[in-house]
Symmetry: C2
Subunit: 307 residues, 2 copies
């Protein structure tokens, strides 16, 4: 495949950055890939496992001469990192990020990006419940979506090149504006995560059901929740604090619906429940038809994996 960037700098070396590195190498998309992480332990791990062509001890070293700089840090520190980064950027370079929230990241990072540098926010919809430099793998983005959120007036050729990079990493790419991105993700990802965290917390709190019972009999539903609720705490704290309005709006609607279903249970209104559950089943069929999951029976079993 074509080499798209001579030098790429990855700032932050967690799950997404490490997966990007392995996927860039798989496809030969970049010349040299440098990496920087604030933590000395993370840098040592990266060197140990061969993550990045060159792991740098300062951000300045990592960014020097880079054609593409990718911010792979938690959303809450994007602004601070961008402030340090701004003066180091090469004219004509592109800065992008991989944050799960877009409007807030644009507000944090935008002011620090010089006029002669392209800033094209991005969000790959991919991840696992693991985090850290050892958790990445080249296939993470294969057949997943990556959403680009370029501002009006962004150089189309810079956007086109970044799109080509993400396609080369295996992803399908779409463009979207930041506010709509944040609402869509509040529905499909942020609110579901908070709900899963909550349910797992409730189970842990309950005195009459011991922890060992919760764990032992974690049938179907709950086990999927614990997987979601095992995701990186720092990343998710920042997501909720920076996509506050959309998340709270969706949670408000969720509570309203939940109360209606609770009332149906209390009143013994089986018709209401059955109609509701039939409707949600149809949505699942839509997802399978859209190719975002398989029809293989899995529920609570982990397919062939958990045997």
């Amino acid at each position: 495949m074509t080499q798209l960037y001579d030098r790429v700098a990855l700032i932050g070396l967690g799950l997404i950055a490490s997966s990007m590195f392995w996927a860039m190498k798989r496809a030969g998309l970049a010349g040299e890939v440098t990496g920087f992480a604030r933590s000395a332990e993370t840098r040592a791990t990266a060197r140990e496992i061969g993550l990045c062509d060159r792991v740098c001890d300062t951000m300045a070293q990592a960014v020097e001469g880079a054609d593409l700089v990718v911010l792979c840090v938690p959303v809450g520190v994007m602004g601070a990192v961008a402030a340090e980064l701004g003066p180091l950027l090469k004219p004509g370079a592109t800065v992008t990020d991989v944050g799960s929230v877009k409007a807030d990241v644009i507000a944090q990072v935008g002011p620090h990006i010089p006029e002669n540098v392209h800033f094209i926010p991005a969000h790959p919809l991919a991840g696992t419940e693991h985090s850290g430099p050892r958790s990445g793998f080249a296939e993470l983005f294969d057949n997943r979506w990556c959403l680009l959120v370029p501002a009006d007036g962004t150089d189309p050729s810079a956007t086109a090149r970044l799109r080509e990079l993400w396609e080369g990493l295996g992803a399908n790419v779409e463009e979207m504006d930041a506010e709509h991105h944040d609402l869509v993700l509040a529905v499909t990802s942020h609110a579901p995560h908070l709900i899963a965290y909550t349910m797992v917390g409730v189970a842990d709190d309950l005195r009459r059901v011991t922890d060992s019972e919760v764990i032992k009999y974690s049938a179907a539903g709950f086990r999927d929740f614990t997987r979601i609720a095992a995701s990186d705490p720092t990343m998710w704290r920042d997501v909720f604090l920076t996509n506050k309005d959309a998340t709270l709006e969706i949670l408000g609607r969720f509570t309203e619906e939940l109360f209606a279903l609770q009332r149906a249970i209390r009143q013994g209104d089986g018709e209401h429940l059955h109609a509701y559950f039939t409707r949600t089943r149809a949505i699942r069929r839509g997802i399978i038809q859209a190719g975002q999951d398989t029809d293989a029976p899995d529920f609570g079993r982990g397919g062939g994996r958990a045997k």
Copy 2:
């Protein structure tokens, strides 16, 4: 393996019954296995795919001479089925069920079981989001739990034989009393299901996010919810109506916790959120250590399946 029952009758031919049949055949646990379903279409499908040694057009034919009768119908109709079944039972036979709720099933079924028949309620903690006679497979119960809920005074040898059957089907078996069973399951399965149904319903309702976007960008969290929310509507309606008190209690606690987290988001209390998410992550580790799931990264990807 030893043949444990000469004749087994499966009443209802959905996911659980069909999986029991294939697993009984795999291990040679039963002589003849008969099957009955209310729907002529289901019986025709069963005959077509070789499900059961003999598919019967009436419950009386299926139950005649059976040493073990397994009620595999939705919890809501257990009482009506038991009323019809009671007079047909052979003295010394065992009746069991596979319902997800136990106290209500015991109240419905118990009065119809003659003195000279053993009634030993059971609940295999296994399933998929698929339903119907074609959805079963022999491995469904492998390494899953089956909870037996024998009443005081039940013949220990009848209980021991049923335990041996479930172990032969691949399951790990424990005994528990009915009230405790219903509370544990409300936490680990029933409340999580209602929550998943609710969240998927909210997404479907939202006007500003199109259905196709919800489906297309159904990242991680939400896709797991849709899988849960695709489960059989009739089964789940009955679960909520018959395990009403425990489910409503857990949902009440859930709402309380969710409101506390919503307030933390609104107030920007990152410490509260981070501490909460760190605690839930530890529960996930407990489940992996207990062998109920694998550590393979899966979140939103379906492991090796969804590629």
